[in-house]
Amino acid sequence: MSWWTESRERLYALLFRAREEREMAQELSFHLDMQTAQNERAGMSPQEARRQAYLALGGAEQVGAQMREARGVAWLEHITRDLRHGWRSMLRTPVLALVVIVSLGIGIGVNTAIFSWIQAIVLKPIPGVDDSRGFYLVEPRNEDTAPAANHARPQQSAGIRLNVSWPEYRDLREHLQSFDELIAFRMLPFTVGPAGDAVRAAGQLVSANYFTALGIEPTLGRFPSAHESARAQAEPVVVISHDYWQTRFAESAAVVGQTLRINDRDVTIVGVAPRGFQGTVLGLNFDLWLPAELAPLLLTGSRELEERGTRAYSAAGRLRPHVTLAQAQAEVDAVMADLALTYPESNANVRADVLAYWRAPRGPQQFLLPALAILQGIMLLLLLAVCANTANLLLARATMRQHEINVRRALGASRWRIVSLLLSESLVLALLGAGAGIAIAYWGTNALRAGPMITAFPIKYNTDVDALGLAAAVLLGITCGLAFGIAPALQLLRGSTHGTLRSGASAATRSALRSTLMGVEVALALVVLVAAAIFLQNFSETRAVDPGFERDGALLAAYDFSGRNLDDAQLRIFAAELLQRVRALPGVESAAIARMVPLDIHGMPVRTFTLEGRARESAAADQSAINIVTPGYFTTMNIPLLAGSDFVDLNDPAAAPQVIVNEEFVRRYLDGAEPIGRRVQAYERTFTITGVAATTLYNSFSESPTPLIYYSYRDRPSMAGELHVRTRPGAELALAPGIRRVARDIDPLLAIYDVRTLNEHVDKNLIFRRIPARMFVVLGPLLLVLAAMGIYAVVAFTVSRRTSEIGLRLALGAPAHRVIAQIVRETLRVVTIGAAIGWFLAFIVYIHVAVGRPLDPAVFLGVPALLVLVAAVAAWVPARRVSRIDPMRTLRQE
């Protein structure tokens, strides 16, 4: 109770300060009057009475000060006063203040932006769901004993990652006690809309308990009940996303009960998901959620709900309270071992890992998180360099206030008050810098999101700067403010205790601190600049890497027959017809259809196969990346065929099923034997190897050579495909209308979407490298400029202190260039030491991070040279200026 009254009183004291002061004065003067009157009645003269009254009170000023202390808000008033003082003195040197605020803003801003991104992935992996950190994935893994090189994609541990099959999910859900509610989901593209006017939408097939387990509430309508999900085939239902509701239905309240035509079936909308919820796959943005029971209906011919071998789902859930990760893992191991015994064909050698969401093995965060962590480290170094720079600038300016500080001390200000005064100025700068930083972070995260990230599934990271990010920014600001404010504050204090009120006292020791700071700043700047150079170089190299196929002059267009009831023959006829007509279009050099385009962010599918005549190395089958292509693919993509020939015509009925393998496949699995004619077994059929294609890039620019099997569209036509069209570079997009027309002529119900050039497609793969590259293109030069400014300020200040000495030397006949050279040399000594330290730091980090790669001389020699050159110029300018002064003037000043 009294705590409340106390706080209230303090608040009043703060708010009504002026009035309180007035009343206090009034009260004390009343007291004095009464005492004076009493003294007069006792016989004293009026003056004596007054004086005695004053003495009895103990001095009105003193009492007033004590009363203010007793109010309990004195410290707050001190701080507000100091902050105001800091604000005013900042205004007196606007240029310095601007430089500091802008540089701090950039430093804090980039740090906050990256921090928000990392936080979005790690702390809030499922946007829209509270405490989604508590969700764990159950990720099966095929424990292949083959060496790690036998994988189509780099993996975390031995074994190939697998999805969960629906029957397996049911077993896990039934037997796992450690999980509260295990959910299952898979992602799919859907065709939405009436025939002829269909668009693509990304959606998830989910288990009945999906929404309840996530703990979210619908914005409108409801989520399907368990009963509704079970009966979904009779009465299909769907939940749409908030974004979809906004863009397609204009937030109409009548959307519940409306019908959507999905994959050529009528589905009823029962609810709208809450705002901000975008599904349960990290980084992807979904529009539709349908019960998994609808799979057979929407994906014609799908038997995924019964087949244990069809692994298409992901499973996740919250751990029960008090269950540790180790316990959950142990239980999962036991259940999976059980399943391996009961169902050996699908589950032999299959184990599962319980993983935190941000460690999900599929998706961009695999390489994103380590990259972000490194980036954050570098940005923190940048911020430190900015702080060192600011400290130097403030130090230089603070020495001019030595006189003022000495006077304050002489008047009785305590050391604490002096430090508080000086720190408050730094804090004002730092908080303004933090404000600028927050603005930059907001803009930066918006810019990140504005980038086109539409691939097969729209990517959307919720990287908003939220409360935690803001708090981080402010905390960074305060820390920086204290860090670079302490140095000048301590310096001034130490100077003042010499007690000298004389101006012109020399300060040799101070230069040591300035030099150290300058050296530190140069070291840090060098590390950041080297990192920036490496990033940029890596990025430009990657862009120039030959992917193995020709990037320029190719157009891509996607189509999807999923949900339509077409058989293999019809698909073949469509493909043949489409290719024939497209090839007839003017400007088309060649055309082909393939299931997947290389360097897609989502990666080539991986499937099992058996090579006849090759002994299996383990119980599990061999796996390889696959693609399905029509004849003419290799010509269109300009991939050389190294042996054998292309696939036979689509409509050739006679030939046996064929495959073409790539060079890496031959190297890995055939061991020098003749590949043509060898047989491969997959999908319960036998294929004959008819050709060998050159190995190209399939998934990412930094992958090691990957084996791949090309299946012929004739043998395994796919529902969805990508049309590849080769034409003159620059003329790609002009073909788009023609292609659409052709497709419509053949099949008016089919939607052609995602028309883009092959170059655009490949560039998207680089999008996660492009972002840091762009950042460094801006930050690198900026840091260089900042370092130059810092050095300039320090040198300018140093020589200004030594004008008398310099003037004397000039007067005595020393040539100006010698004087300049000496000053520059002194500065460069510190700079080179700092640069050397920074170089070693960068070197050590580089060997650890980029294992085995040779040092690039352009980076490791060029960058330090550039920095030293800039430093030399920054030191030369003020030195030259001071050497021009009239020696007689400076001597007279003495």
């Binding site: 009254t5 004291a13 009343e23 103990g58 003193q62 007793a70």
Partner: protein, 115 residues
């Protein structure tokens, strides 16, 4: 009374005295200091300067509240009065004081052989 016979106030008792004074009737600061001197038969001459900070503290703790009134001489002065919390505080402190002073008395006047 001669200065020799004046006592210094133990810390904390100033507030107790103020509470007691105000329990009789609301009063302004000047009046409080006069009244304390009078009630203590001049033993306690409150250093007037320490009274006002004490009043500020007590107001902050919610034991007294103040309002501006006019005196008989038609001057405006700040009058202090006890709040209910202040009354409770006075009763509590009075209790504590009585108990401890009695105990001190027993100790000081203890003789051999008495119970």
């Amino acid at each position: 009374m001669s200065p020799k016979e004046r006592s210094d106030l133990l810390p904390g008792t100033l507030e107790l005295l103020v509470l007691k004074t105000l329990s009789v009737e609301p009063m302004h600061g000047w009046g409080i200091s006069q009244r304390i001197a009078q009630m203590s038969r001049d033993v306690f001459q409150v250093t007037q300067g320490s009274l006002y900070p004490a009043l500020v503290r007590m107001k902050r703790r919610g034991w007294v509240k103040s309002e501006w009134r006019t005196t008989e001489n038609n001057r405006s002065a700040r009058y202090y009065m006890l709040t209910r919390a202040g009354e409770r505080q006075l009763a509590a402190e009075q209790d504590a004081w009585d108990r401890s002073s009695a105990a001190v008395g027993w100790v000081l006047h203890w003789r051999e052989g008495s119970a």
